[in-house]
């Protein structure tokens, strides 16, 4: 798949120029466990911060609470500072590999898709991360929501070339 057609901000291996930097694919399998640990940390934070609360999401979209704006805002600021430090210092991974960033281009999907995701976010009270956390927290019915989200992704993949971009 050529670089120009990778509209996905989240699939690095399809960014051809960064792909060669990925030595991790040759890395031992147990290195995956560090991502499992990172996910456990992130899942705990999602639950304990009530980011997975349907009520907090409704408050956010009704401007009734600062909580979600505080969470997302301070997360973004922390991320901006961290990425700036990594770029400035040329920091490498703990295994000595370079850390790379790929500039992303605009397409109309960010508008149309963004609005559609916003609709779904307000309905389910969950973005994809919280969906996984809800299942872990025992809301088994969220497995249906997740399955439907996977179906939605599949239908998008099928219709992709016919959609405005």
């Amino acid at each position: 798949m050529p670089l120009s057609s990778n509209t996905d901000f989240e699939v690095q291996s399809l960014d051809t120029s960064t792909d060669t930097n990925h030595t991790t694919k040759k890395a031992p399998w147990w290195r995956q466990l560090q991502y499992l640990a990172a996910g456990i940390f992130f899942g705990i934070v999602l639950i304990k911060s009530e980011v997975i609360s349907w009520f907090r999401i409704q408050e956010m979209f009704r401007l009734q609470s600062f909580h979600m704006y505080g969470v997302i805002g301070s997360a973004v600021i922390t991320g901006i500072i961290a990425v700036a430090i990594i770029k400035k210092t040329g920091a490498r991974t703990i295994y000595g590999d370079p850390i790379t960033f790929q500039p992303k281009s605009f397409n109309k999907g960010q508008i149309y898709g963004g609005l559609l995701f916003g609709f779904g976010w307000a309905l389910t009270g969950a973005c994809p991360g919280p969906l996984f956390a809800q299942i872990g927290a025992g809301f088994t019915v969220s497995m249906v929501t997740l399955a439907s989200a996977i179906l939605g992704t599949w239908v998008y993949g099928l219709l992709r070339d016919k959609l405005p971009k």
């Binding site: 705990i44 963004g114 307000a122 809301f139 439907s148 179906l151």
Partner: protein, 188 residues
Amino acid sequence: MFMSILTSPWPWYIAGPLIGLTVPLLLLLGNRHFGISSNLRHICAACLPGKVPFFSYDWKKESWNLFFAGGIIIGGGIAATLLAYKGPSSIHPELAAEMAGYGVTYVNTTLPAELFNWPALFTLKGFLLMVAGGFLVGFGTRYAGGCTSGHAIMGLANLQWPSLVATCCFMAGGFIMANLILPFILHL
């Protein structure tokens, strides 16, 4: 004392920076970019690629993210059991009054059980909330190329302006749904 701090709901100024630190954590662990919704694509690519070009790629190169998602499930389980908060939750009085009007009276820190449960799946309201809502999450995030983590946090952290456009559209969509459409659905 320590456990009571852990089990109480965490304030935004603790939780937000911890979520933000996930960005450098994944970069330093292996040059991985934070973004959860692409896992839905990887699951499609792994389980049901068909002949769809969008799913014809080597998803195993991205398998780290599936481990990350698996970790979120485990983390959710730990938080809901070992670190569970037993106290009452409070929401804005206007929201509480609005919800009472829909018959949602029990406020918790997760999902309203009166709306999100297995039998409700077979009602129009439950179908729209869970099945249609989930579909829109999956369709919309991939069309946008990312979700709250991939665009709003990782994309903005990397100062990508398309991610700012996407984030504004997430919020706009949420405002439209929550204020203009959801009230009709909840009255069903």
